[in-house]
Symmetry: C2
């Protein structure tokens, strides 16, 4: 428990380092002290439970951490913005930490830099937390994409040079994550952003959070170069960071050729970019194919990887295009990345399972083991994946109906839930890229907050603590 | 092959019997002769293949039958209505035979009785064909709800008194189906309908087709008694006909207590009726709770059972209510009924599988076989169900995107696909209960036609003939 908790302390520490040069030092120091004090208090209360960590405690701990940490994260916002309600502040920090990137704040361009960098830092730390959660913590609980592939893809759990202990794994991933982020900051600065924007957008891109310092998001810069750089780094962030680590350590790009998820992702995204560009050109949304390709590529990659930047108001495009982008946001991101949704590995397993059923209907007695990336996937994992997908869809249905009951229209409800549960960010309708989530009522905001958390904790982790069997005995 | 084909000959035979007293005898005799001649020709062409029926041939045969028969069914419509395009006529007959009940015709009240009764007879025969397909044919191919439960629920395949041969099973089901239909006709006549309306609406209710002789559907009669009678018979038609047969033979209602699907269906429908009535009352759609309950019950049962009658324009209700009804249409109907969608048994298996995964996460080593209705469901069947559900959802996604590309709005596209693939009938938006499918372009009409067929042939049967592996060797 202590190892996991120690991650929470990184937030105020890193914050204080960054905010030494900001104007709102006092607010942040107060918030930091409060958080640190609570952390120490909790640590003292729980220290004598050491050594008793069962699977059950693991689930509770993860869920409590991911609900409590955003609560502490609201402190700077509440202190600095007196008019903000707790509901909205909690939504904003949850959106930051789950790297959803949906915002209820308007007038981003006029926010104090400290607030903006705090929001983006939440994106970045959230991204890191997610990678560690996905690669190191959830597998111990028996959940998540990574654990499925312990024995299969190049992953830290398998490779002998990476010890399987959480702390070591986490440190290695952290270094890779930091390195790519620094490269991204440098590239964005070189492309013409100021330092604040470069740092903020690099944070948002690497965490696939998608917060921006401008209401117009990346459209504010209107720069093809910046868009291209962000596309590259969003795609990197949507790959498995274990692959990045192995590539960096081995000084070789060959590892990516063995990364089935990355290859599938790039193929789907590339085909979709060209397809949507042709569609927009055909529909006359853009008179010029290359303009269509530029806008389609940036916004499609941004939504598909669950980042959520926007360079134009794609809600104005013919409805097929944005809905296809939201559909991709469900399936494209790799396991062990900072993206959300089903993850590409589960999508692949689903399609292969469907193919297997066809084969079985034609040859009822044939034995036909499933292979992904050259290795056999045992049936128990296929079951887990299918169960996951079912709960994921049921969650979408349930949250959508909650929003519908509250009176929101269908397209807004449905796309808001999709955007939140995939941690993508903007939806359509009331919650489109040109507007934001501030129009929602408190109840609707809480539903969206819960949807973000559901997606981020891979559904099972959150739902299991609501099952009767969890509390039995 | 001949046994199966023989069913096709029932259509012109029964038709001629019914139409002896109509004004359009010539048109129908012509159509009948054409169909019979083609049938004989096909029989002569295929007779020397006798004895070679492999699984592969079985699939092809079912698909060819279900695409060719509606084509022949268009003849009376095309002969009697000179302005009708083949696309629309094919949609209408496919809609009839798959018991979808979506119509492209306007001015139903002024159609010649012969045409109306032909449309409703398609509903009725389609319903019978579906029961036979589901209970007797698809299980031989290894597909469908019934085969899943060979060893479990009271079903003809298990019961020793019903021989497992197709012809016998089909005849027994036919008798039960006919008996309940006659009871329905009598009840509707007693409630005040004229003979034509009583026969037509009984046909539409038992087949869960939902065609009506009036543009205003059942709202035309504005009679709570008729609505109540139809509710009862729609629910009966949405239960497994094997249960009805066993109850009738055993002269006992106890068999229904062992029918897990029926119990689950009635519970869900009852709870939803009360819930939606309360919702409509709370929203002020109806000032009086009992009026709300009346309209909620009839329209909800009608959509949930995939019948598709309407008594009011429920598209005007707050959007939550109709969408909940369409959601129920996906899951409520029993296997071996004339309803569509996933079927309740698959829904139950899905939920139990999700529960099993939760248990497994908490107790990784525990063995926990799945039970439905007191009997163990083997893993191979759970896999088949999960594969089915995945393909069903992917079909919805694919057809919806096709409609979106063609320029239809989101709510119309999505609900049209849901309504067609579940063979329910009316959707929302352009295809709502107060309008119909005549506003669609030819391309959109064909997509909807394909969606109906996909749903009716339980997805696998249709899709398998498009897989490369099907044509190999
Ligand atoms: K995001
Ligand atoms: K129907």
């Amino acid at each position: 428990m202590l190892v996991v908790f120690s991650i929470a302390y990184l937030i105020p520490v890193v914050t204080s380092l960054i905010y030494a040069d900001t104007t709102m030092l006092l607010d942040f120091l107060l918030a930091m002290l409060w958080t640190a004090a609570s952390g120490v208090l909790m640590w003292m209360l729980t220290r004598h439970y050491k050594g008793e960590l069962t699977i059950r405690h693991g689930y509770l701990l993860v869920v409590v951490m991911w609900t409590a940490m955003p609560a502490f994260g609201t402190l700077p916002l509440l202190l600095a913005m007196p008019g903000l309600s707790f509901t909205d502040a909690y939504f904003e920090t949850m959106s930051g930490m789950t790297t959803t990137g949906a915002t209820v704040l308007v007038g981003l361009d006029n926010l104090p830099p400290a607030i903006n960098i705090w929001r983006h830092e939440l994106n970045w730390l959230g991204g890191l937390g997610i990678i560690v959660l996905a690669v190191a913590v959830l597998p111990l609980l028996g959940i998540g994409g990574r654990q499925l592939f312990k024995a299969e893809t190049p992953g830290p759990m398998k490779d002998s040079a990476l010890t399987p202990r959480i702390a070591d794994t986490a440190r290695n991933l952290w270094v890779v994550y930091l390195g790519i982020t620094l490269a991204c900051i440098a590239a964005l600065k070189w492309a013409g952003m100021n330092w604040l924007d470069a740092v903020c957008h690099a944070f948002a891109a690497m965490g696939l959070g998608g917060f921006s310092t401008h209401d117009a998001s990346v459209g504010y810069f209107n720069s093809p170069l910046i868009e291209f750089i962000l596309i590259v780094f969003m795609l990197l962030a949507a790959m498995n960071f274990a692959s990045h680590f192995l590539a960096w350590r081995g000084k070789s790009l060959r590892v990516y050729l063995r990364d089935t998820e990355a290859i599938a992702m790039l193929s789907v995204v590339l085909a979709s970019c060209v397809g949507i560009a042709l569609f927009l050109w055909w529909q006359g949304t853009y008179a010029d194919f290359w303009t269509a390709l530029r806008h389609a590529s940036f916004n499609l990659v941004s939504i598909a990887t669950d980042c959520g930047f926007a360079s134009v108001d794609f809600a104005q495009w013919p409805i097929f295009a944005p809905l296809w982008m939201l559909f991709l946001s469900c399936i494209v991101a790799s396991s062990g990345s900072t993206g959300g949704g089903l993850k590409m590995v589960r999508t692949l397993i689903l399609f292969k399972q469907a193919g297997r059923e066809f084969l079985k209907l034609l040859h009822p007695s044939a034995v036909n083991p499933m292979k992904v990336g050259g290795m056999v996937v045992p049936n128990s994992i296929v079951f887990a994946v299918l169960g996951f997908v079912f709960l994921y869809f049921m969650s979408i249905v349930a949250y959508t109906f909650l929003l519908l009951i509250s009176g929101l229209d269908f397209i807004s409800s449905f796309t808001a839930v999709i955007a939140c549960i995939n941690n993508a960010g903007p939806g359509l309708g009331v919650v489109g890229p040109a507007t934001n989530y501030s129009a929602l009522t408190d109840f609707q905001t809480w539903v969206c907050t819960l949807a973000m958390l559901t997606g981020r904790l891979e559904v099972f982790t959150l739902l299991i603590i609501f099952t009767p069997v969890f509390w039995r005995r």
